[in-house]
């Protein structure tokens, strides 16, 4: 299956990357990782470097792309134009009290994607 993982470089995104690489190996999926501009205080190129390093270390052959601009819409548009069958996202950060905080990228993608979306928890 053609799988697109979106990550903005937060902890839950890297956790999702590790789990998706594992799943890719088991299922023989075709994985692409999109690095998103989720916040102005994060350097996407440096996140992309960290992602490439993790992908290389896993031995999985996955394409790593930087998507500039509004993260949710860029991810959904990329998924549609490139014919991906599934979008995978981190399952949210935990607040000090342990509450899940999903964030606006996840909300946008869940509401706008025309393919299945998996949140990794």
């Amino acid at each position: 299956m053609k799988v697109l993982l979106g990550t903005g470089g937060r902890e839950d995104g890297f956790d999702a990357l590790a789990r998706t690489l594992e799943r890719t190996r088991e299922a023989g999926d075709d994985l692409t990782v999109a690095v998103l501009e989720t916040s102005s205080d994060v350097d996407v190129e440096s996140v992309a470097d960290d992602v490439r390093e993790q992908v290389t270390a896993s031995g999985i052959d996955a394409d790593v792309r930087v998507l500039e601009g509004h993260p949710g819409s860029q991810l959904v548009e990329f998924a549609e134009t490139e014919g991906f069958e599934q979008i995978v996202l981190g399952g949210g950060q935990r607040s000090p009290l342990g509450k899940i905080d999903l964030g606006e990228v996840a909300e946008f993608v869940l509401l706008n994607a025309d393919v299945s979306v998996t949140l990794i928890r």
């Binding site: 000090p96 009290l97 342990g98 509450k99 905080d101 999903l102 606006e104």
Partner: protein
């Protein structure tokens, strides 16, 4: 999320626990400060918690996960109060320090004790206990559709600080 927004002005003073009140169902409810000594009783209360009243993944459902969660949040740095009926906890509210200067608030009340005025009392005494402990900034998140909870938080003095996410964020200055 690092620069959380708080109202400019503090909301005034709240009463510290303990307190005894009669709820709308004529039950005698005692509100008191709680802590790690109450962990066993609190685990019991959360085991009875209606899964439909869970919010954003808490409380967990599995008893071991409940204990692990409580163990992580009921710390000496947290401010926590409990409402008891016949010596058994029926409501629990807590302020947990975040990585900055603020405290995240949550309140849980067993289903059969909801809508009887206990939530308001528990929140007021939690904030009173917080004031006594020097807490200045409090925030919370609540599902947008949870109108009774949002109305309760507004009544206490919380204002919406962010509505960009799935959950509404509200904050208050003590």
């Amino acid at each position: 999320m690092t620069d959380r927004i708080y109202p400019d002005d503090p909301v005034g003073s709240f009463p510290p626990p303990p307190a005894t009140l009669t709820d709308a169902e004529s039950r005698e409810i005692r509100v008191r400060e709680s802590g790690r000594d109450d962990l066993d009783a609190l685990v019991g209360m959360y085991e009875d918690f209606d899964p439909a009243d869970r919010a954003q993944g808490i409380p967990p459902v599995d008893p071991d996960a409940i204990r692990e969660w409580l163990d992580a949040i009921v710390t000496p740095e947290a401010v926590t109060v409990v409402a008891e009926h016949d010596g058994r906890p029926v409501g629990h509210a807590i302020l947990v320090p975040d990585s900055g200067e603020g405290y995240e608030l949550a309140i849980f009340i067993l289903d059969e004790y909801q809508g009887a005025g206990i939530g308001t009392e528990l929140l007021e005494h939690l904030l009173g206990q917080g004031q006594a402990a020097g807490v200045g900034r409090v925030w919370l998140t609540v599902e947008r559709w949870n109108e009774p909870a949002i109305a309760l938080y507004r009544k206490i003095g919380f204002e919406t600080s962010s509505s960009e996410s799935f959950e509404l964020e509200m904050s208050l200055r003590l």
